[in-house]
């Protein structure tokens, strides 16, 4: 009961972990290369959530200095995640470029089909 109450109170972390596991599952379980990349993107997005959620301080306002306020939300996770998002975009772009080249070379983007075509002489 206590655990369930904690989980409901922290539902945002439950969503984060769910996205993380979904992303990883898609990468492993799907053979289509584009779908793998989508799974990877979902996995990376869940990590962004993992950083930003604790950054919100309860009772904190926007992180702009003002004499009327004493508690501010932490802006550092947002900065880190901007960097991580850029890295994620670059990875996704590179992955998709590779998929385009693979499609040109093999005529398909299904991983098992590609492996089969390599095995034949």
């Amino acid at each position: 009961m206590d655990t369930i109450a904690t989980l409901i109170a922290h539902y945002n972390y439950v969503v984060t972990v769910f996205l993380m596991m979904t992303g990883l599952y898609i990468v492993v379980a799907r053979g289509n290369l584009v779908k793998k990349l989508i799974g990877l993107a979902i996995f990376q997005t869940s990590v962004y959530l993992l950083y930003i959620e604790p950054g919100k301080i309860i009772g904190g306002t926007a992180p702009i200095l003002d004499p009327a306020f004493s508690i501010y939300t932490n802006p550092l996770p947002h900065v880190l995640i901007l960097t991580a998002i850029v890295v994620g975009v670059a990875t996704l772009a590179l992955g998709l470029a590779l998929v385009v080249r693979i499609n040109e070379a093999y005529g398909t983007v299904e991983e098992d089909e590609i492996i089969r075509r390599d095995r034949e002489p």
């Binding site: 290369l33 990349l37 990376q44 590179l94 992955g95 693979i102 070379a105």
Partner: protein, 497 residues
């Protein structure tokens, strides 16, 4: 001059980055190579200067942009860093002349400038991971070097290089993301991203948040292990090494995994080990178990490979097992063995892959049966290959023996005789797969493919020869390799709880 000397840690990363941008603007293969060569030769100068400074005046702490740590990003150079910096920049410098002919042979004209651009980005990323003292900065450089590596591998002549690069991209990104999760947990625990600061702040957090600290350690270890190809997470390595251009395989085998190993050592000994007693963390036992698996299983797989490049790739996985064994032993001799094997393996594998690249350049193949008798047609290249092969086995008088000696002493210091038996057994298996190649190359009649081979051009032969001589020289005079590794190990172990 002093103004430049002050900013050496930053220059180590900035110069290759600017070089990459310059090459991207120039777009022509010839000038691109010239810039890459100039940058590659400048990097060891900076690295050696940093090592000199560290050996004489102690750890260098450089605040990037003048922002003081722990709020600003800090570049922190101590003996361990400087050692790895010299290795990475040295390998790049020595092998760059080789790249001109090798790249000219394997990569089409219009892609050569992009190749050198990616190489410079990869170099900047690798040097950046080594020199930084900030956890998230390490992630950024890790991804810079990894993305550049994926492109370098995809430039391979065979179309299977594309799928190999894609699979490496998926696994590498998962690894980097695991690392980021670990860093996120550390940030939540300590409120800091500066590695030295986190080490100090982790200690009081152990009482209430032991589970989170262990979770952070687990995520970081798994994430970095994916990058360094520790045993069950090595699946990307054989394909990536087998299908990448020859020079890329040589460079990556000597540098990429080594830098990931450096990062793991940094986290184990300088961050987690400083605040938490290793006996509370089961991580060293797991690392030793996986290392033993790597040493035996990967060596056995190598025995059955018919493609020599793939065989050497599996051999790399086994050799990385030696290094992680040294890390897992957590004593002076063991850690020295692991660290000195970082350098020794880099030099050995670079010679092997470069020699193989020269053979591919002349004979057009790397399949074992098609390389019969190549020793008679390319004697100097095969001699270098033979020397490095003997070093891989651990013949006394070569560098391989030095690493295995330290590792065996480290295992004996812990009283684990079985580990010494495993080291010897794995060396015997290495003798089988190396011996197979030597027998085919030297003792058989030349095949049609090796019949048309001859010695490679001097630009390719010289780096191979220089590094082959190094495998013997550093096996006899170990002051610069084992001496510095020992000093680094002492510094790391001295900080442990």
């Amino acid at each position: 001059m002093s103004a430049v000397a002050q900013h050496l840690p930053a220059l180590q990363v900035v110069v290759p980055l600017l070089g990459a941008v310059l090459v991207a603007f120039l777009r022509r293969g010839g000038p691109a190579f010239a810039i890459a060569l100039a940058v590659s030769w400048a990097m060891p100068a900076i690295a050696v200067a940093l090592l000199w400074q560290v050996l004489h005046t102690g750890t260098i702490s450089y605040a990037l942009g003048g922002w003081e740590p722990p709020f600003g990003i800090e570049y922190r150079v101590d003996i361990l860093n400087a050692f790895v910096l010299v290795l990475v920049s040295g390998v790049g410098a020595v092998t760059m002349p080789y790249a001109y002919r090798s790249v000219g042979f394997e990569i089409p004209e219009e892609r050569r400038a992009w190749f050198y651009c990616m190489y410079l980005l990869c170099l900047a990323g690798l040097l950046g991971i080594t020199v930084t003292g900030d956890a998230f900065n390490a992630f950024v450089f890790l991804e810079i070097s990894s993305l550049a590596t994926y492109v370098l591998i995809a430039l391979g002549p065979d179309r299977r290089a594309l799928l190999a690069a894609f699979q490496y991209l998926i696994m590498g990104t998962i690894g980097a993301t695991f690392y980021v999760i670990g860093v996120g947990l550390l940030y939540l625990l300590t409120g800091s991203l500066n590695l030295a600061d986190v080490a100090v702040r982790l200690e009081p957090a152990w009482a209430d948040h032991a589970r989170t600290i262990v979770a952070a350690l687990a995520f970081i270890t798994v994430g970095i292990s994916l990058k360094l190809a520790l045993f069950p997470l090595h699946a990307w390595l054989p394909n990536a090494y087998a299908y990448a251009p020859s020079w890329v395989t040589a460079f990556l085998s000597a540098t990429a995994t080594k830098v990931a190993i450096y990062l793991l050592i940094r986290y184990f000994f300088s961050i987690f080990g400083v605040s938490i007693d290793f006996r509370h963390l089961p991580v060293t036992e797991i690392v030793i178990a996986l290392s033993v698996a790597a040493m035996l299983i990967a060596s056995l797989i190598a025995v059955f490979e018919t493609d020599v490049k793939r065989m050497l790739a599996y051999s790399s996985v086994a050799q990385i097992g030696y290094i992680t064994l040294g890390i897992g032993l957590v004593n002076q001799a063991g850690l020295t063995g692991g660290l000195v094997h970082v350098v020794n393996h880099a030099v050995m594998k670079a010679v092997l892959f470069l020699a193989l690249g020269a053979i591919f350049f002349r004979a057009g193949t790397v399949k074992l049966d098609e390389l019969a008798g190549i020793g008679r047609r390319m004697p100097l290249t095969m001699t270098a290959f033979t020397l490095a092969g003997f070093s891989l086995v651990g013949t006394p008088g070569t560098v391989g023996f030095i690493s295995k000696w330290y590792l065996a002493v480290g295992a004996l210091d812990r009283g684990w005789w079985l580990l010494v038996a495993v080291i010897v057994a794995s060396s015997m298996i290495a003798l089988i797969y190396v011996g197979r190649v030597l027998e085919v190359a030297w003792l058989r009649a030349p095949s049609p493919q090796s019949g048309k081979a001859s010695e490679p051009p001097l630009a390719m032969l010289l780096p191979v020869a220089v590094m082959a001589v190094a495998t013997v020289y550093f096996g006899i005079d170990t002051e610069w390799t084992a001496g510095i590794a020992g000093a680094a190990a002492k510094a790391l172990l001295g900080g442990l709880r």
